[in-house]
Symmetry: D2
Subunit: 351 residues, 4 copies
């Protein structure tokens, strides 16, 4: 009954098999391995972006921070949802990689920024004043931290506002596959056709050990990105082990298959939680994360029985009146099974 | 006939097996996995340092840069051999992590700094002048880039000079195992007993996929290091895959066993190359790297037959008079076999 | 009728005279001039802080940024009012000097943070989580950007919260003299006795050409500050010209005398504006800045006649219905005269 | 008998008079003062560069560091003479402003880099390798730290090499006026016509209180420079006091007149020192700095009588054998008089 995060899951068997296969013999180092050539082609193909620069890094924080260091000048601010990973969960890595800079959080229901909110915030610091931070970049998280997703048209509306202010747009796709299969959109429609300039294309949470692709749709940035990756200590000498994970992930639609599984499990869990006495959803369940509110006594029961998930926000207490509703986050991964979900729901449903 | 680098080799079977085993089921993330508890104990035990802070990162550049960011203030300079990896091969990563800072290269035969050279350089910028960079840290590479190693007494003499100037001492041990088995010293004697404060304890080159331990002998630095690692994007969510590599590496002396193999192969290769007509050694062969000079015609022959290694320095040319001696670097790894070495030497010996 | 800012005023005659006097002959450079010895003694005396480190810099942004670089680690966030100069008017200088870091703005009426608001914000990112920015420093602006001032007891309550979280407290005193004479407190009561660790002690706006003292009450930080000042390019070679301004400023209570004048003029202006038809105060007038609301037609009239001040916020328009109230900021300086204030009020009062 | 540095001298009477005049009444702040409009025009005129971006900062370190932050990427290295101010006298300010980066010192006689030495150093780290620092920028000091100057043709030869490697060229002209009057070249010939992209145009040492112009010949960099200056804390609110100094400096050829005086005094001093028993020149005296070697007993005598100058390098001792030659640096300023020089020489000549 593990719903704490999708990062507590392991790697998919296909990925482990590829890793083992890649271990055979000698291979060129630092990204010149032949597997990487295939990965590059696969990603360009997947995104219908034959010129895109494609680089692998081991963590999502590295991908986001490197992307933002390309997009945002040292005197700029990155606009993002106030609950975005880059705002609350990266200990200043984006500011470190940018070399100063700032991140400006914007409020918005269900983890999403609206064009109105973005416009209003941009208007507070108009271009051309030397005293304040300059407009730097836009960063959208898809799947959002609230488990919802931006539709391509929503992405396009926001990136258009960014572009009008001279800003590049980044997408934090730590759970990109979950957003994509939920939307039914093509990778290209969800990204560059909707105005996204740089994508953190996550794979770790969705069945890999530790690899993310940084996809930069403007190939003119390729060399700068190579240098920044090296300078961040993220260029692997035995790079084939990153390449192999990503190749397996993209082969035969494994990545989409795994994301569909986690989304399906979340949908089932969501339905079950909402149907419990006193149960309700905090955000719409659109991907692999469920935010639901349950009476305190149900949380006590679930946790006592070994259910693993987080109250969200974290500063709620299990101590107190039984019927008080407490909100919580439940995450399904590629390895979550129907049996796990049902066992958890049965536990909660039991008298 | 692969002697280009020890990073073109794969991972040892024991390491791959541990990785596969670690993939079973769910595991806590971000370094709280139980394997990491065992790794921490293993390293503390290995180094007879029960309080040491131990953290894993994926690359040697990350380990070095994080270590130096702990050791050197933003206004300091790191003293290192002028051919050290941090000087010539990290694209400014140490300066980036330090947050400015500088690295001052010091010349020295066979990749080693002498106490005299260090003292002379330190005297050029005495403490207390606000105009120049301050004494920041000392960084020693062991095994050195020239394939030699510092004896514990040599390390102690240099770190004593550093300490007298208020500087911490770092050891870049990307090939620590090779230096250690060559010296016969204990890990503790080679490091903290010789005045080393921070160690980049390499494993990638010597049989892992991508993992290095950062060992900080002053436990008071632990929390700062955790924060800096996260901020650099080097905290793995699925951390068990770093832990598992390192556990296997340290179990049953695998790391020493692998290093002995590469050192032995280098010794054999070294002897063979020096005995060739026109052959001579550029540096003493003390670890797993051979620097030898051969007549140009021999290099041509070797490379034409598929021998893979680098002329060193790189700006020598294969074109020109046949008998001109050209120096080159040959690296053996844990996976180099006697058969490979002999085949290569036979090729060179053949008429 | 100049009320745009106190930085459009000149330097007081006593300051110019001191500058001219200091120009005589040779003088030691880089802060070793004898005038600086006297300045150091004067400031230590003024603040009853015989050990304080005292350094001069040319701008308020330099003073704030250097102070925060001493107080806040690279992975920390500085808590400040959301309208503080360091948040909205320094183009990222604090983040630059800190070396990353972040500034977290906190809302609060009349430019002031309340202990409740600070506590609530601190509770969102509890100590010990490696994923988020750490508690870095507290920065209070006194006189605030809203023209109000913190009482010593209010300062003490906020710095106590900071200290409990391990944070140092900084005071941006660009208009420190104005806050001080308004409060009637002693310099020591307003700063270190109330828990302030570092003070940007402004002089530029209040009658100098360009000089601010950075006063660090913990003398152990002195050398670090010297190095950071040099590294920021703020160490003057012909330092006597900074020293001379500050000496004159502190001699015979000139600084207090000048601040009383600007505060008095603001009080008079404030009273006059509030008494106008449709006039009202936006914030209490406690120092040398008046925030008042007037009908649009009055603003049109004032500006047409050469009144110089800013609508605040800036994105209000003079075009539109006549009676709409628009808020504005009016700043008095040491050189503002009763005649100027009266002329301006007469203009507004006239039919 | 003050020859310690040109920064121990005061400001020229014309400059002080301009400062006093500028103090009259209110003036727009932050560089929008009308004096700055005139300064901009004067500098553009002086350099025959009608489009150049011109900004004022208070110190030479600020000018150099800001210039290099425009010229050199964060992953680049700046090539400079190993004794350049940015290498040995700025406590890491250039690296701080660049945001990492490195400075690579190159040896060369009499403070000057030769094209051969620059080429050789560039060849060590060819373009395109991701592992090492990239070619960042060239920085030439004119007048050099050795008191010599680069001829326009020498500057052109070096900047051509830089340009061929994609690097911009900076000139540290802390003593630009001294180099210029020595060479007889025009400001344009010495700078942009010889391939210089950014100039630190010093005024402080040559008769001002504290002001340097940063002249950027590519106007496309203007806005970036404005932002970087603000972010460094170097944008003066009461900017008129920087403008006024610079206007006076450039009016009626004052800057050239003052430099001619210091150069003339140095020539006279140089001749006198070389003619002393045991006296000789260490570097040719081409500007306002004399490097001469004298027997130890003469130094003892000079210093005992109040002669103020530095042994150079500083680690020579006055204690020891009388006849040992010790080298020293003597600097003349705009305010050095013939009487001072003669008095000093007479002292040394006396039995």
């Amino acid at each position: 009954m593990e719903f704490a995060s999708d990062n507590t899951s392991g790697a998919a068997p296909e990925v482990m098999a590829a890793l083992t296969a890649a271990n055979d013999g000698y291979a060129p180092s630092y990204g010149t391995d032949p597997i990487m050539d295939r990965v590059r082609a696969l990603i360009r193909d997947t995104f219908e972006a034959p010129e895109a620069a494609v680089y692998l890094v081991p963590t999502g924080t590295a991908a986001n921070s490197l992307a933002l260091s390309l997009a945002c000048p040292v005197w700029g601010t990155v606009y993002a949802h106030e609950e975005a990973h880059i705002v609350v969960d990266e200990c200043g890595a984006p500011e470190f990689y940018i070399g100063g800079g700032r991140i400006t959080g914007i409020a918005g229901a269900h983890g999403k920024i609206t064009p109105g909110a973005l416009s209003a915030r941009l208007a507070q610091t108009p271009q051309g004043g030397v005293h304040h931070h300059q407009h730097g970049a836009l960063s959208l998280t898809n799947l959002t931290e609230a488990g919802t997703y931006y539709r391509p048209a929503e992405v396009a509306a926001l990136t258009a506002l960014a572009r009008a202010e001279g800003m590049a747009s980044h997408m934090d796709g730590a759970r990109f596959a979950n957003a994509l299969v939920a939307s039914g959109a093509s990778p290209a429609d969800m990204t560059w056709r909707a105005g996204v300039d740089l994508l953190s294309f996550g794979a770790t949470k969705n069945g890999c050990l530790g690899v993310e692709a940084l996809v930069v749709f403007d190939p003119a940035k390729a060399w700068e990105l190579e240098l920044r990756r090296k300078r961040g200590g993220h260029l692997f000498s035995k790079h084939r082990y990153l390449s192999a994970q990503m190749e397996a992930y993209l082969t035969d639609g494994l990545w989409l298959h795994l994301a569909r599984q986690s989304n399906r499990m979340a949908a089932r869990l969501s339905e079950g939680l909402a149907a419990l006495p006193g149960g309700s959803l905090v955000h719409p369940t659109e991907g692999n994360i469920v935010f639901a509110s349950l009476p305190r006594w149900l949380h006590r029961k679930a946790m006592a029985a070994g259910g693993h998930y987080y109250l969200w926000p974290f500063d709620q207490s299990l101590d107190g009146l039984d019927d008080t509703p407490l909100s919580a986050r439940f995450v399904c991964s590629w390895s979550t099974t129907e049996a796990e979900v049902e066992a958890f729901l049965d536990l909660l449903r039991a008298d």
